[in-house]
Symmetry: C2
């Protein structure tokens, strides 16, 4: 019989890859704690109606959708925000504002697989609910910055936009919501010509002007932007909001590399600033987020302003590996415990157990091999010490400890074994 | 619009529940490291063919099965072992034996929801591949015991059986594999009459005798068992194997409370010992496992003896909560940073950032509330300290620190702030 393979677009993470992902997850969780975000765990399987309500066509068409055995139309979550918004309208409806929620797990999108893009991928998700203030936006951007800094990445950049600018202009020019969303979908995919084609000449000219304005973050870029959108009242308010957030973030010590007023993201629910994290050198996007002030209300909750962000953990892992970032984990000594004869196996198991109780990682020789073979294997596995349990030494409460790097060995009291290995 | 609810059988974990589950996951991962198990991450979506190949009817009928957008017949994993066996036949085919693999994540079964039983639930999974020796079986049982001990549970018990006993008897009596599997499915559900009904009078009598033999673990129980299966050669070997494992585990300091020779588990792939972890006082099963020496071969790999176990993390969480086990995590001080005026917000954000860089959890006041309101809120959230950032103090490089428990306050140098809060 031939062997099984993973489903196309899904993959196994082994050894270094699994270690990198669990490292990034642990750093994301640590970051959540530092910023006062409470962890919540929501299901991967959610009602299709929930997931498709405000996600946008782009994502809706790429979901894993099916009926469960009870005939419920469900899908695998393509992102976290819909689930968290569901919580805000139900279990957390009466929670005092603001509240901050963290989630981490896998999400699912039926994309064409390529390096760094899988159909099952991992996100850390942060949502801050209840505040419409620029300091809430600033906090989420600072948190994103901290996360990338704390995993050890360098040379990453943050791009900032504001969905309110284009939205206000199009609304004032009488473009309906549906067309607006279609325009944003095209802009998100950088298909600007296709976006322009949906608009009349005047709108097109304004939008083209915005696209041209994208550039390095500076007071000058913001001033040019302010000049360009003069006469569009809602857009002026959005630029003021963008400028206020930019000021707070910069004062707090975080650099924003790009401002792009024509930047859009694939999700329909954004209403304010949006941002993206990337590594220019590697041409890799690491995540992003934005403000969505209408979603909780649209889901049947109280009006609740909110901002959130998702970090792409696989991508961050790839960037870490590309930059050869050293994972900051404590190097543990590795020990293999070997019984010389059948009769010492129970005692040897007990000694291995004792080591683990003291926090030392201990493998037990489970193959029943001859001593020379077992030691050879221990060596291959980069084991630091072999603990050899023999009849004579046991009677004296001792074992033999072989230092496999230095090729030395010594008899050690069992009661002092853990200490010996740690030293 | 009415609010959305989770899909039936799925649930959200909030606050204490999420904290308990992430705690249990972290202990499982710690345990894996202590026993030298490498973490691997496999997809939740797997080929149906893989998942149904050896899982047994019972689980096959309760899987979430669907076609992906490319028409592939897939399912959500109902357990980990099939995925890990897939790895053993592909990516890890040439890995030197033994190897030890750890996984943790959610699994899916369409069961009738009840307390402690959900359609999405969490498992930690441990597989030791390449050894047929009793010490490998012993290691997995010791690991299971350590996990429950290390999360802080008390009063749990371990039940041990051996699928090889009944298998050998039925095979010697000419019962075919299909009927054998049907018998085990019934026995797993404790539907003994339905199991007997599938057998002839002789087999029935032997099986009834085995069922009656279940009891406290003791040399006497094992001797009675040995007596009962006399004449069934394969069963004698299985009883010898069971006795050898029991001896090793006991010598290593772990108690096995029950031996049950008629004990079966719902998965078809087991070939040797099987065991179950439970809390008698709470009548709750926490996980289990067993030996499966033929699975890797059946999946197209080299003949590879293997033993594994899965711990039900939701159940362990429930048991922890029922026993009011105190989660051993370090209590962190909670800080809220508040700017007095708009002008100090950038600086205040920077100060919050500095605290987090020093490992202190700091919330920022993002609601733009008046000081009294903000402090009242900080109090409600059990904040330890409020750090108040005002113009006058800032000029002197200071902030005001309010101790919310003691109702005292003091001016503190910003450079000494983290130290002050930690002390």
């Amino acid at each position: 019989m031939s062997t099984f393979q993973p489903v196309r677009g899904m993959r196994d993470l082994l050894a270094q890859d699994a270690e990198t992902l669990t490292y990034v997850i642990s750093k994301a969780r640590e970051n959540a704690q530092l910023y006062g975000f409470q962890e919540v765990i929501t299901p991967i399987v959610e009602p299709l109606e929930l997931l498709s309500a405000k996600s946008g066509d782009e994502i809706r068409q790429r979901m894993f959708i099916f009926d469960d055995l009870g005939g419920r139309r469900v899908a695998l979550r393509p992102e976290f925000t819909a689930s968290i918004a569901r919580l805000a309208t139900t279990a957390l409806r009466s929670e005092p504002k603001p509240f901050r929620l963290f989630s981490v797990g896998s999400v699912y999108r039926y994309d064409e697989p390529q390096r760094g893009r899988y159909r099952e991928f991992w996100q850390a998700n942060f949502e801050l609910m209840g505040s419409a203030k620029p300091e809430a936006d600033a906090e989420i951007i600072l948190l994103a910055n901290s996360l990338l800094k704390n995993v050890g990445l360098t040379g990453y950049a943050i791009k900032l936009g504001h969905i309110g600018i284009v939205k206000a202009i199009l609304a004032q020019e009488g473009v309906d919501d549906k067309t607006q969303n279609a325009v944003f979908q095209k802009m998100d995919k950088k298909e600007f010509e296709a976006a322009y084609a949906l608009l009349n000449a005047k709108c097109r000219a304004v939008l083209e002007g915005l696209v041209a304005l994208k550039g390095e973050t500076s007071a000058e870029t913001v001033e040019k932007l302010r000049e360009h959108i003069k006469g569009y009242e809602g857009a002026v308010a959005s630029v003021d909001n963008l400028a206020a957030i930019l000021k707070l973030v910069t004062e707090a010590g975080c650099s924003i590399q790009k401002v792009d007023p024509a930047f859009a993201r694939g999700l329909e629910y954004y209403t304010g600033i949006i941002f993206e994290l990337y590594v220019p050198e590697l041409d890799i996007a690491l995540g992003g987020g934005g403000r969505y002030d209408k979603l909780i209300e649209a889901f049947g909750g109280e009006p609740t302003p909110a901002i959130g962000m998702a970090a792409g953990l696989d991508r961050i892992g790839l960037a870490i590996q590309a930059q050869k970032t050293v994972l900051k984990k404590h190097q543990q000594k590795k020990v293999m415990v070997i019984a010389i004869k059948e009769d010492q196996k129970g005692d040897a198991l007990k000694i291995a157990q004792k080591l683990r109780d003291e926090g030392i990682s201990a493998e037990f020789e489970v193959m029943g091999r001859k001593m020379a073979k077992a030691l050879e294997d221990a060596d291959k596995r980069n084991t630091d010490y072999a603990v050899i349990v023999g009849e004579r030494e046991l009677k004296e409460g001792k074992v033999v400890v072989k230092d496999l790097a230095n090729r030395t060995q010594a008899e050690v009291e069992i009661s002092a074994l853990a200490q010996k290995i740690r030293s």
